[in-house]
């Protein structure tokens, strides 16, 4: 990846411009997810017909949650590897992060299709609408993250992910952990607090 030119010059706050931009972006995303979560909470209990939240599968989703938490661990290990110039382990951890992300997505696909089979659709009731749009938006974010991770992994495969690129891996990590953190909130607010 092209060197972070924005960091090559002295900056007023002594902070990397790209990292600063990304934290601002994450802040902005808090408002996005909060609006979706608010909509979910506002409409909780207002569905005129079922299926209702008892359709949610806590054991299954707990495993998804573990999966995402572990993927965050893989991510920090990947970053650490890149920061010490360890290309071999960088490849391993990046791939594992992406893999766990794909398992999460597979789990979401399974969950969504099974709900549809049980009669919960976007159109069925407010629970369906708010649930699918909230978790679907989260899933879309995970998908973007997986693509980003696989892009970095393919750079690593070609030997183009050295210490100099640590920042881009770090920023990918910030995104990935944020997506994980949003899931922590969703898991609690949607699945556990019914």
């Amino acid at each position: 990846m092209a060197p972070a030119a924005a960091a090559a010059h002295h900056t007023s706050l002594g902070l990397d411009s790209r990292k600063m931009a990304f934290w601002a972006f994450i802040g902005s995303e808090c408002l996005l997810f909060a609006s979706l979560i608010s909509t979910y909470l506002i409409y909780k209990g207002r569905s005129l017909v079922g299926p209702y939240p008892d359709i949610l599968n806590i054991p299954f989703t707990s495993i998804s949650t573990f999966d995402l938490l572990m993927s965050s661990l893989m991510m920090v290990l990947a970053l650490a590897a890149v920061q010490r110039g360890d290309l071999k382990w960088a490849k391993v951890w990046l791939f594992l992060t992406a893999l766990l992300g794909m398992f999460f997505l597979a789990g979401q696909v399974y969950e969504f299709t099974s709900f549809v089979h049980e009669g919960l659709t976007l159109q069925r009731n407010l629970f369906g609408a708010t649930f699918f749009v909230l978790t679907g938006t989260h899933g879309a974010h995970v998908t973007v993250g997986v693509i980003w991770l696989l892009t970095l992994w393919s750079r690593a495969l070609r030997g183009k992910l050295g210490k100099a690129n640590a920042l881009t891996v770090e920023i990918c990590g910030l995104y990935w952990h944020f997506v994980d953190v949003v899931w922590i909130v969703i898991f609690t607010v949607v699945y556990l607090i019914q």
């Binding site: 411009s17 902005s28 408002l31 909509t39 569905s47």
Partner: protein
């Protein structure tokens, strides 16, 4: 890609000054379109029972007038100045992310074109449910055609442009300041740009969600805003106004920043109470988040909600008022040079104050129950947005025209422009206070003579056309200035801030040597601008070449939007492919800042 001439250089430019000019001209064209829409509205309302346009077309006109003015004219005109002026004021060579900057511009143009393309289709299905698109009028049931689809897709695209610019300017202002340019030495215009940018990145996600939910209702059969399945149309109002109120501060703060630059220059006196003015701006930004339901006093939110929002709304008048006093104190005792720019800045103070007063009147729920949804509100919004933002923007135009073009706009025509616009504006909008209290609702295409508002409406229409005439005067001024305007040197006004230390227009790299700043008013304390610092490289620093990828990526968005508009799925994949290709090529392109 080293060419700086030719149309290709403009398509690939990443130079903040060029992008600023692109924003300016594009936004000005949209301003004229929005103004034309207003003139047709006023022609229709000049007499009771008029038949200039049908009711359906009238709905489209006021919707597009509002949407165009807010999103395609006022915000981008402010953005023109953010782009051109802020890097110069902070002593930088460009913004933090020049290609992202170009991307913002192209997305804006394409979004604006998409929105207005609706006028060109058979039966011109332009958006017609008001600029705030209340549910459930916007549902598929009550708005079956593509009108609202154009609206929501256009706005989503424009939101992307605004968000990108917001991130860019936050990082630019915080991280790219010249040495010695501490935050409390930053020019007020740059400060207000920073606050505005924070408002943008926090408020736009909310309307993004609101529009996504509307899109799902209209395309995928959900019931987010529909009561038949237990949904609540009021949810739309909340989400929209949680965005919408910060949005009006996004619209006014830049103009306030401009006024804070113009007044000191032409009073030859530093801004009175700089610190207070800055903190007030920041406070307005924060407090702007706490007032949104004052747009909903007639919805029946209950006494607690009404009282809370009434109180917060009255409180926000305080920092606003504080600024006004500081501006007046800046002028008091100054050596006044009554340039056109100063006329507009002073006009801003007077007209915005009037708008603020009617705003405070709205803050009382019982009073607002009579005012809301009448022309009284139309009066208020136009005093603050036209008398405020538009006058502020024109002050900026007269002030910074020499810096951007190298020539001064004519002063005689400038003053003619001002007076025509000032008189026209008051004729157009002052009667609306009375028209509204006499009972004329908003958004009606005609009215009965018995309402007793015919004469006042006629006066208002005359005022509107006077405004139109004043704009023509401005355009004549612009045209004549191209070849015959007085040539401006670096600093035609004796300004205090860094943009006046470099040539007009500036060279691509802005500063030969990045200055070290030691005060808030570097040019007025010339001895403070230190000599060339040790170790600085002289000569013309390299300015970055352009890039095609921001434009390519931007093109992906309207193509994506075409998918729902044409009900064809593969178009979405095409749009996504263009967007992703653009992003990848952009990410892997070698680009030196």
């Amino acid at each position: 890609m080293s060419a700086t001439k030719g149309w290709r250089s403009w398509l690939t430019t990443t130079d903040h000054k060029r992008i600023g000019l692109l924003y300016f001209w594009t936004a000005f064209v949209f301003f004229l379109i929005g103004g034309l829409e207003a003139l047709i509205i006023r022609a229709q309302l000049a007499r009771p029972g008029n038949t200039v346009v049908s009711a359906e077309t009238f709905n489209q006109l006021f919707t597009m007038h509002g949407t165009t003015m807010v999103f395609l004219a006022l915000m981008p005109l402010s953005a023109a100045f953010f782009n051109y002026i802020v890097p110069l004021q902070i002593g930088a060579r460009d913004v933090a992310f020049p290609r992202l900057n170009a991307f913002s511009y192209w997305v804006f143009v394409l979004g604006g074109l998409l929105l207005n393309a609706s006028w060109l289709l058979p039966h011109h299905p332009a958006p017609d449910a008001g600029w705030f698109g209340y549910a459930n009028l916007t549902s598929r049931e009550f708005s079956p055609g593509p009108n609202i689809d154009f609206w929501l897709l256009g706005l989503q695209i424009l939101g992307v442009a605004s968000l990108a610019a917001g991130f860019n300017f936050i990082v630019t202002i915080l991280n790219l300041r010249a040495p010695g340019m501490k935050m409390m030495r930053l020019p007020v215009f740059s400060w207000m740009t920073l606050v505005t940018s924070f408002l943008i990145i926090t408020a736009f996600p909310v309307i993004t969600v609101a529009l996504v939910l509307l899109m799902f209702d209209r395309f995928f059969g959900t019931h987010f805003y529909l009561t038949s399945a237990g949904g609540d149309p009021v949810l739309w109002q909340h989400l929209f106004w949680i965005f919408g109120h910060p949005e009006v501060y996004i619209l006014i703060l830049p103009a306030m920043g401009i006024v804070s630059e113009v007044l000191p220059t032409f009073a030859r006196k530093p801004l009175f109470g700089y610190t207070v003015v800055v903190y007030s701006g920041v406070l307005i930004g924060f407090m702007g988040w706490g007032v949104w339901s004052h747009h909903m006093f007639s919805v029946g939110l209950g006494p607690i909600a009404d009282s809370v929002f009434s109180a917060t709304t009255m409180l926000i008048a305080v920092p606003t008022g504080v600024k006004i006093f500081n501006w007046l104190a800046t002028l008091w005792g100054g050596q006044i040079r009554a340039t056109s720019a100063l006329h507009f800045a002073v006009g801003f103070i007077a007209l915005f104050t009037i708008g603020g007063l009617s705003g405070v009147m709205h803050a009382s729920p019982p009073a607002d129950l009579q005012q809301t949804d009448t022309y009284f509100v139309v009066a208020h919004i136009h005093y603050v947005l036209f008398g405020g933002t538009v006058f502020g923007l024109f002050a900026g135009m007269y002030y910074w025209w020499p810096k951007m073009t190298g020539r001064l706009l004519g002063e005689r025509l400038g003053k003619l422009h001002f007076w025509l616009m000032f008189v026209g504006m008051n004729l157009a909008f002052f009667p609306m206070h009375f028209i509204g209290l006499l009972g004329m609702p908003r958004r009606i295409y005609t009215y009965a003579p018995e309402l007793g508002v015919a004469k006042l409406n006629l006066v208002s229409t005359v005022g509107a056309f006077l405004i139109g005439a004043s704009i023509l005067v401005f355009l004549i001024n612009v045209w004549r200035t191209r070849k015959r305007g007085k040539v401006a040197g670096n600093d035609p006004w004796g300004g205090a801030t860094l943009e006046w230390t470099i040539p007009s227009p500036p060279p691509p790299h802005n500063f030969d040597v990045i200055p070290t700043v030691a005060s808030r008013l570097p040019r007025w304390s010339m001895t403070q601008l230190t000599a060339i610092p040790e170790g600085a490289e002289l000569g013309k620093p390299h300015a970055p070449a352009g890039s095609w990828w921001p434009l390519v990526a931007a093109c992906g968005l309207p193509v994506l939007a075409l998918a729902p508009l044409t009900h064809t799925l593969w178009v979405a994949f095409l749009g996504a492919a263009i967007l992703i290709t653009g992003i990848y090529r952009w990410a892997f392109e070698p680009f030196e800042v």
